[in-house]
């Protein structure tokens, strides 16, 4: 899949028709842009938030919620997002995707931060206070908290995504997950950095 998308990318860049010669600065700049757009882009890279949404979707797939978390078999999986427009737009892509018998419903809870109805909360950014508030409010509840705060030394949420050398690392606080009644699949725990000493 990546290969296909990359070839689209390259084709898009390669088709660039260069304008006729001009003395203007703007022209020179655009010409240069053309030259750059011909250059190929690093083939293994994907957009950060696209990857984060996909990882979070996988988290939902490989996590079992406690029974009482869903009122019915086909109830929506309420997926709440706190973050700027880039983050919100990225998560919109998950809307209506199926996880077992549940459909994903995306909620932007930037304004009214009521998390009690959420099955998953994804919180983006470096605001450590907001993060602490969320963790305090979600503690022990069947709410899967996922954050992407960089440079954390202690993990008080269930899942944390860190960027290390341009790749994502998955940190899972298993004690907190168990406390909230989650069962996480072995496949998930195999690829994650599992933290247990820090409930």
């Amino acid at each position: 899949m990546i290969a296909i998308s990359m070839s689209i990318r390259k084709a898009g860049g390669g088709n660039n028709r260069l304008p006729p010669k001009s003395r203007s600065f703007v022209f020179a700049a655009l010409l240069w842009a053309g030259a750059f757009s011909c250059a190929s882009v690093n083939a293994e890279t994907l957009e950060e938030f696209a990857v984060k949404t996909a990882v979070t979707l996988n988290l939902a797939i490989f996590t079992e919620w406690p029974e009482h978390a869903f009122k019915s078999e086909d109830e929506d999986l309420r997926f709440c997002v706190i973050g700027d427009n880039t983050v919100q737009q990225a998560f919109e892509q998950l809307s209506a995707k199926k996880i077992g018998s549940h459909s994903v419903a995306i909620f932007n809870i930037n304004r009214n931060r009521n998390i009690d109805d959420c099955h998953i909360v994804f919180i983006s950014g470096q605001d450590r206070l907001q993060l602490a508030q969320l963790h305090a409010a979600a503690l022990g509840k069947p709410i899967l908290t996922v954050d992407d705060t960089e440079g954390l030394t202690t993990f008080k949420g269930i899942v944390n995504l860190q960027k290390n050398n341009d790749k994502l690392t998955l940190n899972i606080n298993l004690d907190l997950a168990r406390q909230a009644g989650f069962i996480m699949s072995a496949r998930l725990l195999k690829v994650a950095n599992v933290i247990t000493a820090n409930p």
């Binding site: 689209i8 088709n15 957009e47 990857v51 996909a54 490989f62 009214n112 009521n114 963790h135 790749k167």
Partner: protein, 671 residues
């Protein structure tokens, strides 16, 4: 010409379209399994291009990366990136900074906070920019809010609020040492070290210093305004419990600043004398902040700060102590009402001395003022996730004018995550400062030889008035934000501002000569005689043209219609302002930035009348080379297009000075 424009336009559209195709690739990501996802390299290119606030106000954010890549070394220079903000250097250690017009060194309609600490001084309702500094590398972001923010932030947030926010100490772990120098930035250095102090406690300390060269006077003589400064500080952040976050931070500084000043004098033929003044300032502050969470929808913040400065130049020696406490509680009343309410108290006391010249004095010399405030804001969700109405008001009491109210109504509409529109109507006031109320300023002297009443010279003074009232603004604003294909964002806002009771002055009764004062004094009394309207448009546009190339364009237009009194001609800000930045990484480890700025004709207010400032265009450039993972070398050229350029003229005492072309090199090492 038209053909060229069409061709360029076509090319831009084509590039955007080609990138829209690139952006579509994201859907493929869901076909990857977890192992593959954690193995793929990620880029955050679109994040940089696209992050836009969803607040119903005209907000522009200057990021840490913007500051670094622009090569700026001061907070005012960083603010030049924002649309709608007028920044001009008056001399080496003085700036004029304002939002939406009315610029001047003593500009008074802009509120500025550093980490929640209000740095505006009630001495003149403005900011001594030369005394404000932070470790530039530790700035998380600068939020520039144009338009009235008074409903939340209170009096003096008339035309804008600037929030300078430094990083959490957990994000500045380890060491950073920088140093460098050049032609105008003669030498500078800084060192910061951050460490973990406990399980959930982190801290940092820093020290910085610089020496800056003098500018050049407009007549090409020396301007004698070189200066230096040393500043140090700390910050500790702790998560005391899961629900209580505590921050304490502080700074202290000392600065020697030279200035070439003029003052009205009887003993010179033209009534003006000059002095090379060696001035100094020192100060310190400490801020404590506790944030407690009741639930995900309810939390409060309690903040206390103390700020002190001692600033002495030949005209005025002022020592000011400010004590402030603020409380703010946010909670969701129900599913559709989000309430913020709070209150605050401030006591600000100032002692002034005028021992060295008779040019200015305050009566009373010392005074302390109390400011009480309360505010309430309700954000009402009218249509889920689409339409919000915010109603709020600040209620204040101050010792100058008594009770003030400052309401706002704001509507935010987000029909689609890519489209956001907002509109607002607000009232704001600028309360009097000590110069409005207590000052007597000797503005000019007409020597006996040119006097209309020989043989007596004439002294013109500006006198504050205890009856001076608040300046009032009624502002109407609309805005729209748009993002396209993840790589392009546009932010447009327009405003119409109606001002009443603006400051002016009118001539009072002349005072005849006496034996002790053998001259005629013509006082001009400060009053609220001016009014007027301004309107304008501000746009900012970000285009991530390639993964390694980004453009930032901002354009501001302002039209000023003031009904001025004959004796007080308010400053008129540049009608057009453009800032265009290109940030490119031509190779890995190399960054290259070009920043072009255009500033239209403007006029400054001075106590002796209007002073025109001509339009100018200038350019900065920065070349950065990451020699090693932790070491970066950079070369910066500033104001490259002219040897020197007049940017502004101060209200009084300061001669016109020109900002010069400068180069500096810098080394930054982190460990």
């Amino acid at each position: 010409m038209y053909k060229t424009v069409i061709l360029i336009f076509g090319l831009i559209v084509w590039m955007l379209a080609s990138q829209a195709i690139n952006a579509e690739e994201a859907s493929d990501v869901y076909a990857l399994d977890l192992e593959e996802l954690l193995d793929v390299k990620v880029t955050s290119v679109s994040k940089k291009a696209q992050s836009l606030s969803d607040a119903p106000a005209a907000i522009f954010v200057i990021s840490n990366e913007d500051i670094k890549r622009s090569g700026v070394t001061t907070i005012p220079d960083a603010l030049r990136m924002a649309p709608g903000i007028d920044v001009a250097r008056i001399d080496s250690n003085k700036w004029a900074v304002s939002s939406r017009g009315f610029n001047g060194r003593f500009a008074n309609k802009l509120l500025v906070l550093i980490d929640g600490r209000n740095i505006y001084t009630p001495a003149f309702s403005g900011v001594y920019w030369e005394m404000q500094d932070v470790m530039m590398e530790d700035i998380d972001r600068i939020e520039v809010i144009r338009g009235p923010g008074a409903a939340l932030w209170g009096a003096n947030a008339v035309n804008g609020v600037i929030n300078i926010i430094t990083k959490h100490s957990a994000d500045t772990q380890g060491g950073l040492v920088t140093g460098g120098g050049g032609t105008e930035e003669l030498g500078f250095g800084s060192a910061r070290y951050g460490t973990q102090l406990g399980e959930d406690t982190t801290g940092r300390v820093y020290m910085k210093g610089f020496k800056r060269d003098e500018l050049i006077s407009q007549d090409q003589s020396r301007s004698n305004d070189d200066w230096d400064k040393v500043q140090g500080g700390f910050r500790v952040d702790s998560l005391v419990t899961n629900a209580d976050a505590f921050t304490v931070q502080g700074d202290a500084y000392h600065s020697n600043f030279n200035q070439k000043l003029n003052y009205p004098a009887f003993d010179t033929p033209n009534g003006i004398a000059f002095v090379n003044d060696k001035a100094q300032a020192h100060g310190a502050n400490v801020v404590g902040r506790l944030q407690h969470t009741f639930s995900s929808t309810s939390s409060y913040t309690l903040q206390l700060f103390y700020d002190r400065y001692d600033r002495e130049d030949i005209y005025i020696h002022e020592v000011r102590n400010t004590y402030d406490i603020d409380f703010q509680h946010r909670f969701a009343l129900n599913g559709w009402n989000d309430i913020i309410w709070g209150g605050g108290y401030r006591y600000s006391e100032s002692e002034t001395r005028f021992d060295r010249t008779p040019a200015i004095s305050f009566d009373p010399q010392n005074r302390g003022d109390q400011y009480f405030s309360a505010f309430l804001q309700d954000e009402i969700s009218l249509v889920d996730n689409t339409l919000w109405l915010t109603l709020g008001s600040k209620f204040e009491h101050n010792d100058y004018t008594g009770f003030e109210y400052q309401p706002t109504a704001r509507l935010m509409w987000t029909p689609h995550p890519s489209h956001k529109a907002w509109a607002a109507v607000s009232r704001a006031v600028r309360i009097p400062s000590r110069i409005d109320s207590d000052m007597t300023l000797r503005g000019s002297i007409i020597p006996a030889g040119q006097s209309p009443f020989p043989p007596f010279p004439v002294e013109a003074t500006v006198n504050g008035s205890k009856s001076f009232d608040s300046e009032e603004l009624l502002a109407y604003e609309v805005g729209y934000r748009f993002t396209f294909a993840k790589l392009f964002s546009l932010d447009v806002s327009a405003f119409f501002n109606e001002y009443e009771s603006l400051r002016s002055f009118s001539p009072g009764q002349p005072v005849p000569p006496t034996v002790n004062t053998p001259y005629i004094t013509q006082p001009f009394i400060i009053d609220n005689g001016n009014s007027g309207e301004t309107y304008g448009v501000e746009t900012s546009l970000v285009w991530q043209m390639r993964d390694n190339w980004r453009w930032d364009l901002s354009y501001s237009f302002i039209e000023t219609h003031l009904h001025n009194s004959e004796y007080y001609q308010e400053a008129v800000s540049p009608q057009h302002k453009v800032s265009l930045r290109s940030s490119i990484n031509p190779w890995k480890d190399i960054s290259w930035d070009i920043w072009l700025r255009y500033t239209d004709d403007a006029s400054a207010f001075t106590v002796v009348g209007v002073a025109p400032v001509e339009s100018y265009i200038t350019m900065d450039m920065r070349l950065g080379w990451r020699v090693h993972k932790d070491v970066e070398l950079s070369l910066v050229g500033q104001n490259l297009l002219n040897d020197s350029q007049l940017e502004y003229i101060g209200e009084n005492f300061v001669q016109p000075n020109e900002n010069q072309r400068g180069f500096y090199g810098k080394l930054a090492w982190q460990f």
